[in-house]
Structures are given as C-alpha cells and as structure tokens.
Symmetry: D2
C-alpha cells in the first residue's frame, strides 16, 4: 500500500481514546458558547426568552429521536445548557467518550440552527453562529444521577430568582445593571421575593414553570398502550422461553428486571422506542416525579446483552 | 445554598477530564455520521460531488474564523472527513479534550447546516440532519504531523482511484455495484488506470485536483503585505525591547523563533490572524508545499507565553 | 526563585493524572513479573508451593496493615497474583490511579522480599529479585465486584485442575512436559479428574483447599467483641446526636447504613480497623460467604464524609 | 468454560488502561512514602545521610539493570525521590502507564529493601517497611526533559542550602527546630551562605557534591571500547546494507541518526546495553554535561522499528 509507511500514526490514537466505565450512567452536558453575547445580538427577551428555551427543548427532543430509543433516559435543560442522561447499559460507540460527546453536540447544534427560523421567524441568524461545547461525566448509581439532576434544578431556581429580580430592578425599577447588582449583593431568597412583591407587585410563585423549573425531557413510556400486534408475536416467543427456563427461579427483588425473559425485555425496548418524547416543567428533586415514572432510570436490558454477547 | 448538598456530584467530573499533553500538535478529525445514506438521500453525484466538497471546505474555513488566528495551523479534508491541526502552543480551554473536540464539531456542524442552501440551492435538507463526530489525537513532532497528513492524502488517492473506476464501471460500463466490486478485487493502481483509460478513455491524471488531492486549508500568511500602521507602533516597542535585551545573544539556529522579541512575535501573530484563509488542492506529502509556507507548522509564540506566564 | 523558569514542566503532569471514578469499587490486581522463571530458579515445588503461596498471603496481609483499616475491603490471591478490593468510599490519594497502584505494589514487594527468609529459610533470594506489576480497574456495583472475584476463583479452579494433572503426568507418569501437554489437549474437567483418579489414585477433591480455592483475605469484623471502653464515650455522643435527629425518619431498607448516626459509623470504622486480618481458603462464588460476612462489601461511612466535607 | 459468565468484567479494564503517547520521553518519578518518619525511626544523619543516598543510588542502578539496556536513558535522584527518563522509543508493555510505573516502583523497592543491610549494617529495618509511590509524565521534546531535570536539580540546591543552614542552626547553634525555622524565614540564598560562613565557618561550596547536586545515573556509553568481535560480524552486514542503499543520500544533520544503517543501530544498541551504569554528582542544568554525552537523550533506533514493524 502506498500509505503503509505513514500508517504508524494511527498508534497515537490509542493514547487519546477514553472508554467510559461500563455499567455507569453517562451524563453529557452541553453549554452554549458565548451565549451571553449571542442572546444580546439576537435580542433575546430578559430574563427569559420563551422562544429561545423552546428552541433548546426542540433540539433536545431531536437528540432523543436521532439516537434512537435505547440511548437517552432523560434530559434536563435550563438557560443555554442541556444535560442528557444515557442509560447505564448504553454501549453506543463502545462508550468512546469523544464520539459520544461530539455526536450529541453535533445533533443538538444541527437542529438548533435548522429550527431557528421556526422559533425566531423574524430574527435572522447572524454570525458567529450558535455553537455548543460538551463534556461527559459518569455516575455509578441512580442516587448520584438524581443528585446531579437536583443540583442542576436547584441551580436553575437560584439563578432564575436572581435574574428575575435583577431584570425587574432594571426594566421596572429603572436601575442600571451596576445598581441592580449592588442592590442584590448579599440578599437571600426571601429578600429577593420581597423586592419582587413589595416594589413590583410580582409574586415569584406565579412566574412560568419553564422559567422556575427548567425543562425535563423523556419518553412517556407509561402513556403507551400495553398491547399491539407486534407484541402478539413476541408473546409466543416468550412462552417458549418460559418453558425452557422452567425450574430456574428468581427470588430477590433486585433481580426483578433480570428475571424478565429476553423477549419480554426486547418488547419493552421496542415499546419504549415508540413512546412519545415529552417536555415537562416539573420538580425532579422530590421523589414523586421518579415514583410515577419508574422506567426512566430503572429500565434495563440486563447486562448479558451488552457486554458478553453470550448466552448464559 | 439550597443546592450545596448536591454539589458533591461535581467531584465526579475530575475523572473524565482529559487535558491533552502540552507542547504537542493536536489533530482533531471529524467524520460525517452515516454519510453514505445521507449522500444517497440528498442525491450527491458519484463518485464525487463538487457541491458537497465545497460545502465541507466552507465549513472548515468557518472553523478557522470562529476559533481565531492562533489556534488552527492547517486543515485537510477529503470526502466527509476533515482534520484540523492545532498549533502545539494552543492553550484553548486549557487543552481539555472534550471541549476542544465538541467545539470544533459544533462549529463545523452549524456552518454545514447553515450554508447548505448556498451549495445545494435546489435540494432541501431533510432529516436526519447531517451531523459529525470527532476525536483528538496528539502528535509530538512536525514529522509525525506531516506523516499524519500524508497518511490521509495517500488514503484520499487510493480511495478516489478506486471510486472513480468503480463508478465508471457502473455508470459507463453498465455493471451492477456487485459486478464492479468483483471486477476490482485484487487490482493494483496501474490496473485501475488501465481500466479507466482502456475501457472508458479516462485519463485519471486529468481528473479534478480536488478529487485526487483533497482540500488543504490554511492562512496565507506569506501573501500578507509586510507593513502596516499597526506595525509602526509595534516597531517602536520592539526597539525599546531590543535595547533592554542588549548583551543577551541567541546563537543556535534552533533558537531562531525564541530569538524574536515578544513584540515581534505579537506582531506576527496579529499578521497571521489577518491573513486570508485559502483552500488549495495540492500535494502535501512532498517537501515543496512545506518549504514554501514555513509558517504553517513552525510558527510559534514561544513556550514562556503559554504555560508559565513568567518573564524570563 | 532559581528554578521558576523550569517549573512550567509541572503543567505536563496534568495530562497523565487519572482520578478513579468516585463511588466505585477499585480493584488493584498485582502480578509477579517473570515468575515462571523466578519459581524455577528458586526451586518452587510443582504444581503448588505452599511456602510461596503463604509468602504471597503474608505480603497481602501487610498491605491491609500498612494502608489502615478503611481502605481494603477484601483481597483474593492465587498463584503469583493478588487482587485488592478497595472500598467504594476510599479517597486515599484523592483516588489518583498511579499513586494507588504503585503504593500497593510497593508495599507488597517490600514485604515479599523482607519476609522471604521466613518462608524460604534455606533458599537464598537471588537476582533478579522478585517484582510485581499492577493495574487498577473500577467496578460500579457489588454485583460486578463479586463477578470479578468469581472470575478469578473460577480461573483458579480451572488452572489448578490442569496443573495438578499436568504435573501428575510428569512426576508420577514419567511424561515429558510436551507429552503431558499433548495428553491434556482438548480434555474436559471430568477427563482430568479421571486421569488423576484412574492413573494416579488421586482424588482431586482431597487436594488442599489453598490450591483449589486460592486465598481470601479480609478483616474478621464479626469476631470482634461488640463493646469496649472507647465505645462507651461514643455512645454518649450518639445519644446526643439521636436527640438532634429526632423527627427525621429513615424508612427504606437501602437507607440502613445512612440511617446510622455518624458517631455510630465512626465507632464501626474503629472496630473494623481493630479487627484481625484473616486468611481463608473458601468458596466466594456462592452467596454463603457474603451473607455470613455482610460488612465486607456493604459497610460504608456514607458519602457525605467523603466528598463534600459538608454537614447536611 | 466455567468462568465464561463472569468474564464480562474484563471489559471494565479498558476504561482504566492508559497508553502513554508514543514518541515522547516518559519520566517516572518515585517518592518515598512517609520518609520523614522513616528517616527518624532509622536514625538517618541530618541534613544528609550518605548511606541512605547511596542506597537510593544502588536501587536506581538496579532499575537500569533489571529493565535492560534500551529502556532508561538517564535517572536523577535527590533525597527520597528518583526520576527515571525512559527513551522516547520505549515500547515496554506497549507503554501502558500502570504497568510501567508499578514495575519501576517494584524493582526500586525490592532492591532498596534487599540492599538495606549493605548500607545500614548495624541498623535493622523495622516496620512499616520503606515503600515508594510513583507517577509517569510525558515530555515531547529534549528541551522539556532537560527543563524537567533542571527543575529537580535547582530544587535540590534550594532545599539543600536550606537544610544545611537549618541543621547547622540546630546542631551547632543550639536552636530548636522552631527557632531555626523562624530565623530562616524570608532569607535569600546569600543570607543563608552568610549564616553558614559567619556563624559556623562553613563554606557551602565545600559541601559534598552528592548533597549539592544530587545523583545522576546513566550508561557510560562513551567509555565502552569501540570494537569487539561481535562488531566484526555486524560490520560485514553493514557493508552489504550500504551497497544496497547506495544512491540514497541523507543530507540534513537532523537526519544523522536515521541515516545510520539498521545494523549499525543494532550494534550501537548492543554496545549501549553493555556500557557500565555510572553515578555522578554533577551539574546537568548547563549544556556541558549533555554535549559530552550526546548519546543520553539523542540515541535512537528510529521510529520504523518501533511502531510499524514494516520494512520501508
């Protein structure tokens, strides 16, 4: 081959290939680059521009669709950032970090640019174009993942209360940004609530949920009807399998998912992939959200399908 | 802080933060995801679609402009891939791999999507949108970087000769893809040249340079006029500095760049940033290209500006 | 400072500093370097030398003692390898991989060399001295850790059955190593058992447990008496804490450990650190071992002590 | 296989396997763990114990011998630390970081413990035994490596001047450690020199070179006689090769090493492996040391032998 004497350079790739630890949740967080300037140039309303947030959400939904049903569990967005939680069984690109991060960022960017005219019909997109950077972090347990999401949502609340008050002082109170900043220095949440209500008659609790809670995106598996023609076929497979497996028992509750037959699991996967992707603005810090949608973090195909490719 | 009990999750980021080795060239290579299908759906001409290649080149030029004058040294594109060589002094994002890769991929994607109508005025962009993944590899020496680029350009030649012959057999020879593949199995370069010339009267050497050589993108520093009003001011600074430095000598030729005064280096950096980004379809395997454009890989601000921030 | 202009080289360390993912079990496995040759030069008995295995075990016990009570959960050794499972809360050296691996290897080596005359009183240690290499792998769940240990113990069984038969064919059957290897090619476990019993009257089940099962090393926490004068003081602390915590409830069984008061946890940690390190040759694949010693993998100080340093 | 269902755990190793960047110098630095306490328990003389330093040097020499002639270029030791510079062509363990670091640490530890009675005949080694941790850092250029070594030697000087003065104030001046520390706070090098000379009649320049400069360990290639019977054979090979290569020219001085025939390179490698390992206490910051021993950092087998395994 004419290029054989150059091919040694491929050996260098090995040093910069990171495989994310298996059996952990992968969080890919993307952030808008220089979005402070971008939002000014494109005249975003302050403190929150519903068009901009809805465009972020639409781009996030596209990530779910582009990657398919078995990759992203849930995503959470606030301001110009979005976090995608990948299932711990995810084996896309063999869990290579650079490919996972760059792919999510690329899909998000492509749809953000492409959908711009839908959300900002009268504002042409000017250069430099909107772009995003990304990073991946692994979390070993559901508790860690929920704490991660709680961290982002608590941050959303803190920032939004600050920004709502800051812009009220400017837009309604006639202050300069510097004066508003000084006014808010050292204030607690209740002080900011008082400023809003006392000076501007604004009850923070009545602000839009999207602004206060951010946006939660996930597949609404629970809403999908339980039965379909596809499932019929699968059920037969399942019966067969059950007979073969007779005798084996699965007692531990922790084994519940693993106790499911493989065709049952495949059926669930198929159903999940079909489930509509929804956007909600709700509390994800408390248990209620998770208890009502148990499939979001718990659903799994079982480890044997992912790594070994072997039949037990 | 309301979110302080969740913030421990940030500690997990440390485990997946890779800092690329300083003082090495960073190569970021991006690849189109599922471009085989994308090119079929969008009716790219085969074996090469000049519109698609020009769009790739335009997106690459935008990466140069978006990142500014001191980051990318040179880029090389072929088919649906593009490699960006970052200067070894590059300290963008503290050389964090995920941010570097995702940013380059995001910029490239944004411009590819945005510029699509310019290059494909009569072909609407349909879903799934075009996206790219990326990776970073470090190379310690100029020799390694040149071998990397030679590897890609040799690959371009091999693939293009194959594809040109393959599609000639189909489009002009009436073969099916399977027949064409079989026909080419085990053939050498000269065999393919003979098929092209003997059966179809095609002299491969007359094919378009963009198809045979790929696309080389760089700042045409050499073409920038040497003097400007900005430089005037800098020269004064320079004189002052020279006086201070009197007595110190720099004898070794390897010290040539370091021998330059800091204001001289800043002036060069400014000039480089202003230089026009050009696209050429030329041989980069032989020495000629590099000898005529010595600034591409050799130009440097010197290590002391980058890491220590200290005056020697 | 005289060395300030050189200090920039420290920045390069960042690129090769790996922090192991928090909240995962760290497995450090060490292997003897060129131990085939080393065992021949030092006349180890074949297929197993009880002196050599006991020396490995003594060196492993020293790792427990040197690192203190809260680092290693359990260790498993077979032949010239030993695996140390570090608790998932372990924060030693901020979980820097190179420091963790090199420290465990260094302790193990130091004691192996130093204790040699105790186990091989009539065999002087000759050069090259015995040395070990090591590596670290993270496992996110107890299930993964148990599967890791099961993998090593199953490997022990397979290798030992092979080696026992191989050396019987040579030592008692008069075969050359090549003949013995050929004889065993393609044989199953039952074939080897038959060769041992049929030709040499050896019942594999009666072989020494240390050879068949390997060596399990852990702190015998269960055997430590429950009460001591230290604990008295701690109990008072505990009462106080309980009163403060009144009202909070911890219902989920998974919260059992977290439900423990911090002084209770400290008391347990102290007790664990005092517990004798024991060596056993038992099955660790089945559940029995783990059910009887629940503290080995489950015991934890709770995450809040480890990462945040914050009071909730 | 009985253990096949557990083997999936091997996939997790991939996430924690780091391959150090090819074509860079690898620096492995080891440090004594808790040597402050160790040196007190074993009554090291202060500020420097020649026996302890000589033992460190002997252990370092053993690393050269154990790893063979082509791995370590040079090593530098001071106090309880030692840095080993591996040749940039080093491909030992495929450059896996954990194996490289742990192996060097293990060899060093084994010899330190084993040689202890030779250097401390009347001081028994007590527990905890002396152990070391290690880390690896890559440096892309000779300039970076020399700056690394200069950093360590400059540090040696600064620390030794401080310690010499500190212990003179205590041992000869009758101060407590606290008083000595306070006395030295904010002093410059010349102040310390004055304290030593003015109060204690000590001329720092007359202190032992090993204390002031540290220890430099390398193969004394230059001292090996040029010709031997082995070489005779090689020379014939070489002649043959030269004839084949006739016509090719190598003009650039940077190509000097690559211009050497492969058998010439092998001959040099063999000679280097035979060369005696020497310990010197000399300046390695200035150019002189390096100019007189050009083989230390420049010698190379050429990249084609290392990565591609291909004949050009």
């Amino acid at each position: 081959m004419a290029n054989s004497k150059f091919e040694y350079v491929r050996h260098f790739e090995l040093s910069n290939t990171t495989y994310l630890l298996p059996n952990t949740y992968i969080v890919i967080r993307i952030d808008g680059r220089s979005f402070h300037r971008f939002s000014t140039v494109h005249s975003f309303t302050k403190p929150n521009d519903p068009r901009a947030l809805s465009l972020m959400n639409a781009a996030a939904v596209s990530v779910f669709h582009d990657l398919g049903g078995e990759v992203v569990s849930i995503a959470y967005g606030v301001s110009d950032e979005f976090s995608f939680i990948l299932r711990k069984e995810c084996n896309l690109f063999d869990r290579r970090e650079a490919k996972l991060v760059s792919t999510v960022v690329s899909i998000f960017t492509a749809y953000y640019v492409s959908l711009w005219p839908t959300y900002f019909p009268s504002t042409p997109l000017t250069r430099p174009l909107p772009t995003f950077d990304g990073r991946a972090v692994c979390y070993p347990t559901i508790e860690n993942v929920r704490d991660y999401l709680s961290w982002r949502q608590a941050d959303c609340h803190i920032n939004n209360l600050y920004n709502t008050t800051f812009w009220a002082l400017i837009q309604q109170g006639g202050m300069t940004p510097q004066e508003a900043e000084k006014e808010l220095m050292g204030t607690l949440a209740k002080d900011k609530n008082e400023i809003l209500f006392g000076r501007f008659g604004v009850n923070y609790n009545n602000e839009e949920e999207m602004f206060k809670k951010g946006s939660v995106v996930y597949r609404n598996y629970g809403a999908v009807p339980e039965s379909s023609s596809d499932d019929k076929v699968d059920e037969k497979e399942d019966d067969l399998e059950k007979k073969e497996a007779a005798g084996k028992e699965t007692s531990s509750p922790a084994e519940a998912q693993k106790g499911k037959s493989r065709s049952q699991q495949k059926r669930e996967a198929k159903k999940l992939a079909k489930a509509e992707v929804v956007i909600e603005h709700v509390d994800i810090i408390k248990d209620t959200f998770w208890e009502k949608r148990p499939w979001i973090l718990h659903w799994t195909l079982g480890r044997q399908n992912e790594y070994a490719g072997t039949e037990q």
